[in-house]
Chain length 110, copies 2
Amino acid sequence: MSAAHTPSDQTIFHPRRADLDLVEILRALADPTRLEIVRILAASEEVACGAFGIEATKQNLSHHFRVLRDAGVIASRDEGRNRYSSLRRADLEARFPGLLDGVLGKRSAR
Amino acid sequence: MSAAHTPSDQTIFHPRRADLDLVEILRALADPTRLEIVRILAASEEVACGAFGIEATKQNLSHHFRVLRDAGVIASRDEGRNRYSSLRRADLEARFPGLLDGVLGKRSAR
DNA sequence: ACTATAGTCAAATAACCGTTGTACTAATCA
DNA sequence: TGATTAGTACAACGGTTATTTGACTATAGT
């Protein structure tokens, strides 16, 4: 049996860099709530799930974080009773250079 | 009554540049078939709907072209019994600079 | 131990989306 | 005129997804 996604399990599922799929990532980004999450994460390095000022139930937010994490857009880390998330900038840039900047409205620097 | 999307009507609906919405565009791109259409269009300036080598029924292709067009990703033009489509590069670049290059895997030149 | 907090899981619902089938319009060619 | 071709319109099916409700785990503070 898989032990993925159980709260007591410290090893939260994250896809490896090589497994990142463009369509999955685009689908993850193609939602207003998730796009806002990504924008907030882009502005502030690491944020606890509850610390976003987004109007949504915590279950719904939990769902959106999961979609983003499963797609490889964000990484999550448990600390105490908080789950901190951050953008997987390096991985995204390595696999799809310029994509994140394009989505965030920041033109690639080179 | 709206006369949009009728075959006899030469004025096919295209959203204006100012109305392009990032989430809609991302959603339009977040599909394997549509992404392939965009890649083909990126390689060859203007292509008739039937001239893509994509494995899909014509109804399905028609649907995908409509999604892309409604989102503002492509523009379509009727000529004879063909409908030629092209990428709205300039509009996309103006509203979301670097996005298309990021999706196509072509790093922005500047 | 009790309480509060952060977040997930699971089930249910509703809406959406991709795909297919049938029918249709318009244009080209014989 | 008739036949073919390119593509759309519409309705239907099946699968996916966003959202909500309720219950649960685990941590932290008292």
